[in-house]
């Protein structure tokens, strides 16, 4: 039996395939199609202190082998999450990772403190990279020192494992990753969406309700693999690879580039079975290549 289990940043997972924030809600809708207990981990839709209305529609537009979104962190706030979402999720054994965002370091610390008290939450993913809100973390991800200070602040507020989700919309992502590590992050996940734009040539307006959106899907995978590989050269903490993973082959590319686990995002919209299928495809690859444990693949790119 191929080894797929991993303890990542102190979070025990039965396989390295997680679902990415914003593509799986809080699990309830998707649970009608997917056995949540077969997932490596669930990363929730971003949670903020107060409810957020989100951005004006249209919020989605398909592009070549990808999609732009501009949801704008619509969510009902942390209180609603704890009262109305956690009870459903408590029926499952899969580790739950709460993705959080705020307007200030204080917001993030407050959220971390509140969620620290929830036994079901096994880790926090810090969203400092949503491209669709003027406030809500984007500022932090551009500035290495601001990232470092933010992560230090959150680190003091919680004992939960911290995963910092990095933006690709920066000059040198490895610099930000290193600062996150120095500040006490237990892992980094990358990449968030790439800032993009699509224009309707009839109306001459953006195809989204906001001028720009975040690009995801297979179109961004080569960039994500490259960035994972770059970050793997400079950090010792585990890396979670995200960006256009549709198949087991895609996931294995990320492992070879240096990722210890992956998150499946846009693929959930295309195929509700994607994460489960990807786990199966990774198993098949390991079997066909006589590899006992997928960890042998991590960072094992031949140069």
């Amino acid at each position: 039996m191929a080894g797929l289990d991993i303890e990542l940043a102190g979070i025990k997972m039965k396989n390295p395939v997680m679902v990415a924030s914003g593509t799986f809600g809080y699990g309830e809708e998707a649970s009608k199609f997917v056995d949540l207990d077969k997932l490596g981990a669930i990363v929730t839709k971003t949670i903020t202190l107060q409810a957020r209305e989100g951005n004006p529609p249209p919020r989605i537009v398909e592009t070549s082998s990808g999609m732009l979104n501009s949801i704008g962190l619509q969510n009902k706030g942390v209180k609603d999450f704890i009262e109305n979402r956690i009870p459903f999720l408590s029926k499952f054994k899969t580790p739950l990772i709460a993705n959080i965002a705020g307007d200030s370091a204080k917001d993030y610390a407050e959220l971390a403190k509140i969620l620290n008290k929830e036994p079901l939450i096994k880790g926090l993913e810090i969203n400092i990279s949503c491209p669709n809100v003027t406030k809500g973390g984007m500022f932090f991800c551009f500035d290495p020192n601001a990232t470092e200070e933010l992560v230090r602040t959150i680190r003091k507020a919680t004992s939960l494992p911290l995963i910092v989700k990095l933006s690709p919309n920066v000059t040198d992502i490895s610099l930000i990753a290193k600062k996150a590590e120095d500040a006490g992050a237990d892992a980094v996940s990358l990449i968030n969406t790439l800032m993009g734009m699509a224009i309707d040539i009839e109306t001459r307006k953006s195809k989204l309700g906001t001028p720009t959106g975040g690009l995801s899907g297979p179109a961004i995978k080569p960039i994500a693999v490259r960035m994972v590989w770059q970050v793997a050269q400079v950090v010792k903490i585990p890396i979670i690879g995200v960006g256009g993973i549709m198949t087991g082959e895609d996931a294995i590319e990320f492992f070879l580039a240096g990722a210890s686990a992956v998150q499946v995002g846009t693929a959930n919209f295309v195929d509700t079975q994607a994460p489960i299928r990807i786990v199966g495809e990774i198993k098949d690859y390991l079997g066909e290549n006589n590899i006992n444990n997928y960890k042998e693949l991590i960072g094992n790119i031949e140069m």
Binding site: T23, E29, F33, K45, P57, E62, M67, M246, F269
Partner: protein, 264 residues
């Protein structure tokens, strides 16, 4: 409940220029779908088009374990779908969303503009069992694009058509026909017994909603928005309502017309 399953194509015909009727086999979807619900269909096996496309269920035949979609080729996804042959399989997620609330009223007025007639056939077939009078108002660009008229004629004698260019039926907007039915055809004492069900482009729906409001007739509208997941997780397909943004895929696609905050 809804499921994701591979459904075999039983028939696929071009019924009007760039408009297709697709018949697929599914025991589950045909027996569980309610009028106004939709399916999310993967229109290619590759990554471009990537996302599924949402289609209203046009008609179900539970006894034959099949259902029909009626769609127009408008872009990459529908173009790809139109090339699928009989016998091929399609990956379909459904039935999805909240369909029409079936009012136990004596009079139902169904208003469809363009592709908006798609969900109304399933609705008319269900309503005919309980409703005394069904009016079907079909608006189209021109004669060639008047959809499903024959099928509606089999259900009710009251099928009225308008076209933008007057090539068939009355020239003008379908909302004008609706106003005429309400003001001149129906006995005023019947109005409290009527419900309007509408689907079509937003400006049409807004016009219908305004009439419904003025005439105090309850009105349900089936809304459209670009979708990703179709199951309520991504929050991509929202429309503005009086209680904030609501999801077309999950809270809708059918809403009470007075809930919608109409955008120009």
């Amino acid at each position: 409940m809804s499921i994701q399953e591979n459904c075999r194509i039983l028939d696929h015909q071009e019924v009007a220029p760039q408009h297709f009727k697709l018949v697929v086999a599914s025991k589950y979807i045909s027996s569980h779908a309610q009028p106004g619900q939709f399916v999310n269909v993967r229109c290619s096996t590759g990554y471009d088009p990537l996302l599924r496309r949402a289609f209203s269920i046009h008609r179900t035949a539970k006894e034959h374990e099949r259902f029909e979609l009626l769609y127009q080729v408008v872009g990459k996804g529908t173009r790809s779908l139109s090339q699928y042959c009989v016998g091929a399989e399609l990956d379909i997620l459904g039935p999805l969303g909240q369909g029409f609330a079936l009012e136990k009223k004596d009079i139902a007025i169904l208003v469809g503009g363009g592709m908006g007639v798609a969900p109304l056939l399933a609705l008319a077939e269900t309503l005919k069992q309980t409703t005394k009078a069904i009016y079907v108002l079909i608006g189209a660009k021109d004669k060639a694009r008047v959809l499903a008229e024959k099928e509606f004629n089999a259900i009710t004698d009251q099928v009225l058509v308008s076209t933008d260019n007057g090539s068939y039926g009355k020239k003008g907007f379908i909302s004008d026909i609706l106003l005429n039915v309400i003001e001149n055809t129906l006995d005023p004492s019947y109005l409290p017994l009527a419900t309007i069900y509408a689907c079509g482009p937003n400006p049409m729906l807004k016009a219908i909603a305004d009439i419904a409001f003025q005439k105090k007739i309850p009105c349900q509208v089936s809304m459209e928005q670009c979708m990703a997941c179709g199951i309520g997780t991504c929050l991509g397909c929202v429309v503005k309502t009086r209680t904030g943004y609501q999801k077309v895929c999950d809270d809708g696609p059918v809403f009470k017309s007075e809930e919608i905050v109409w955008q120009d």
